[in-house]
């Protein structure tokens, strides 16, 4: 891990030596201390697939920024440690980085962490934070004034799906299948109301216990409900494939949909033929997407020739938005602290993400309520757009 070796004694001594040797030097980074983006990143454990992508995305964007001369001449530095997706470990990393690196930006790895650290974040007051969680609860600037998320919250994601369904098949029957976790339960209650508002009928809600592999009874219930659309939430992959397999064996005609964390192309393609027709909501373009004007995607493809996951895009965009907030704050001559950074972030309007998101975005609150429906194309082994970009009104 890069930051760790840097934090080792050797690195420290070297750094101190360099600083001593160039007290008034005209080096590129002389105009101020590094701006540190701290991170509790799940590099290992059950969420490692995401953590590794997030890490790569943030690192790449940081590199792009520094290669272009930093933010107003100040170098951006990514200091992170692995959390194995455990809340206490994430908090430990946070405390360590705050004590040793003084970050002004922070990336957190889970809803649990975002909620746990929020009081400390407000007390500290020196940074803003985003993370891997799109929990609806976090999308409240009053309760979480120093946090944001680089996309729609889970309720908004389902809202985008419902919007699409209502347009495709007015009055359609919808079923929700979700895990019995905080993540899984997050959007369900609100989305049920939203569905009714859209003129849709919620015919079944199925809860699966965490880690459960055998879902045959649940499929039986689902078949009785005979939905036109089934929305999965709270899973990365299992048990979605088995659900689809058994449903198809029983001759169900429902279409199956997922939310962001189950939409990575490499994950979906692992389902093989079962993936055919699987769709879901994605706030970003895929790595291989070449339509439209997307210089950032081109840049990413140039930096990394092999496929990068949706988590990579998430990390990359998060770093981009944070950088933008820092830039705007520095430009307005203010101190870098939580309040000014968040205000700068909220001043972002019709911002061009270089094609990561297909439309210009604004961040009026804590989320970016934009997304698009993609559909799995098994022949091409790709997720392909099934709708235009959908913006939810705030």
């Amino acid at each position: 891990m890069l930051t760790m070796t840097r934090r080792g004694f050797g690195g420290l001594a070297l750094g101190a030596g360099a600083a001593a040797a160039l007290p008034f030097g005209g080096g590129a980074w002389a105009q101020g201390a590094d701006i540190v983006l701290g991170g509790s990143i799940p590099m290992t454990g059950v969420f490692a697939f995401a953590g590794i992508g997030i890490h790569a995305g943030i690192s790449d964007y940081v590199k792009i920024v520094n290669d272009a001369g930093g933010i107003k001449g100040r170098k951006l530095r990514f200091a992170f440690e692995d959390t194995a997706y455990k809340v206490d470990a994430s908090v430990a990393v946070f405390n360590k980085l705050v004590a040793q690196e003084k970050p002004t930006l922070y990336y957190g790895d889970s809803t649990g962490f975002s909620k746990t650290i929020n009081p400390e974040l407000e007390r500290n007051g020196g940074m803003i934070m985003a993370g891997a969680s799109f929990a609806s609860e976090l999308n409240d600037p009053k309760k979480f004034p120093l946090q944001f998320m680089a996309g729609p919250d889970y309720t908004e994601m389902v809202g985008i799906l419902l919007r699409y369904i209502a347009k495709e098949k007015p009055g359609a029957k919808v079923a929700f299948v979700h895990s019995d976790t905080e993540f899984g339960r997050d959007p369900i209650a609100t989305s049920e109301k939203k569905a009714v508002e859209q003129g849709l009928k919620v015919v079944e809600k199925i809860v699966t216990p965490p880690g459960s592999v055998d879902i045959s009874t649940e499929v039986l219930k689902l078949r009785r409900a005979a939905p036109d659309f089934t929305i999965f939430h709270g899973y990365v992959m299992a048990p979605i494939p088995e659900f689809i397999a058994q449903a198809k064996q029983m001759g169900m005609t429902s279409r199956f949909m997922g939310t962001f964390w189950s939409m990575d192309n490499s994950m979906v393609q692992k389902m093989g033929d079962l993936a055919d027709g699987f769709m879901g909501v994605m706030p970003y373009r895929y790595y291989y997407d070449t339509e439209g004007n997307a210089p950032m995607l081109a840049k990413i493809r140039q930096m990394r020739p092999e496929y990068q996951s949706t988590a990579y895009m998430q990390g990359f965009l998060t770093a981009m938005l944070m950088t933008e907030a820092v830039k705007r704050t520095l430009e307005s001559g203010q101190d870098l602290n939580g309040k000014t950074l968040k205000a700068s972030l909220n001043s972002i309007k019709d911002f061009d993400t270089g094609g990561i998101i297909g439309v210009p975005i604004s961040i009026p609150g804590n989320s970016i309520p934009v997304g698009r429906i993609y559909r799995a194309d098994v022949q091409k082994k790709l997720m392909v757009p099934a709708s235009d970009w959908i913006k939810l009104e705030a």
Partner: protein, 294 residues
């Protein structure tokens, strides 16, 4: 609301189907307990090991599925022999708590090793079971569950016969009922211990392949072992018939609770069943009561 009898039938079938897999895994657990008095909390992880070995051979080395399955069983058998010799045997005579914790440690090591080799990402096993639905009357049964149940039932039947008639099976039963006596009639008791671990790990691995082919595999699939623990407690730690009956019972209870109360009630239902059985029948439905002497 009108009673949907077909749904009830289908749910019950699905529950019994899963129950067959519980019974199979519970059988592995009981074999070890009977022979060595070790409560093996790593049973779920051994099951996971079997599934991953199969995955590695079938998907990684692209072997035909039946070769991979045999290979996975062999891996599990070797694993059982090594574990018995290096970890379990040095613990003989220690307090049951220590031995039980050793298996907890073993389970954790297995999870770590699996994640080191295959990462924590979920995977799907290659399809090897027919996927045309099974219809029993009008009732639908998911093919994997149905075929899984049949395989489990066949394996269990073979085992029950082996227990009765094969020399090794007889030696195992003799050791289970009285170690000292087994020694004195010339049974190689350490050999029986090894045999029990080898056989049990192979059975668990077989169950792992079946379970994995239904729901995919991941490093957390060891939680399947928790339901199996309920099964063996309800059935009685040292009872083969107990494992079979309780396996089906727990499968059924889980399915009914899931279907009529909701998924979040599944574990609650089985663990409530466990507490109820413990209060009424402390040694399970079929377990042997331990007689205490002063």
């Amino acid at each position: 609301m009108e009673m949907d009898w077909l749904l009830l039938a289908e749910v019950s079938l699905a529950g019994l189907g899963t129950g067959g897999l519980y019974a199979l895994t519970a059988l592995a657990f009981v074999i070890i307990y009977k022979a060595t008095r070790v409560v093996n909390l790593a049973i779920g992880e051994i099951l996971m090991l079997g599934a991953y070995a199969f995955f590695g051979l079938a998907a990684g080395w692209a072997l035909p599925w039946w070769v991979a399955a045999l290979g996975a069983l062999a891996v599990a058998g070797v694993f059982g022999a090594v574990v018995e010799r290096t970890i379990i045997r040095p613990m003989l005579g220690e307090s049951p708590i220590s031995v039980f914790m050793v298996t907890v440690g073993l389970g954790s090591m297995l999870v770590g090793v699996v994640e080191l080799i295959w990462t924590a990402d979920p995977h799907r096993l290659p399809e090897f079971m027919p996927n045309t639905p099974i219809l029993i009357g009008d009732a639908f049964l998911a093919p994997k569950i149905g075929y899984g149940f049949m395989v489990a039932a066949a394996v269990i039947a073979v085992f029950v016969l082996l227990f009765r008639f094969w020399r090794g099976g007889v030696a195992l039963r003799a050791t289970a009922s009285d170690q000292a006596a087994a020694y004195s009639v010339g049974i190689n008791v350490p050999g029986v211990f090894s045999l029990a671990w080898i056989v049990a790990c192979m059975v668990a691995a077989g169950a792992g392949i079946l379970v994995g082919s239904i729901g995919g595999i991941s490093s957390t699939m060891g939680v399947f072992g928790l339901s199996v623990l309920v099964v063996v407690i309800v059935g009685g730690l040292d009872s083969v018939p107990g494992a079979l009956v309780a396996g089906l019972l727990v499968g059924l209870v889980e399915a009914l609770a899931g279907a009529y109360l909701g998924g979040e009630f599944k574990l609650l239902a089985t663990f409530s069943l466990l507490v109820a059985v413990l209060m009424v029948h402390p040694y399970g439905l079929f377990g042997t009561r331990e007689i205490e002497r002063l």
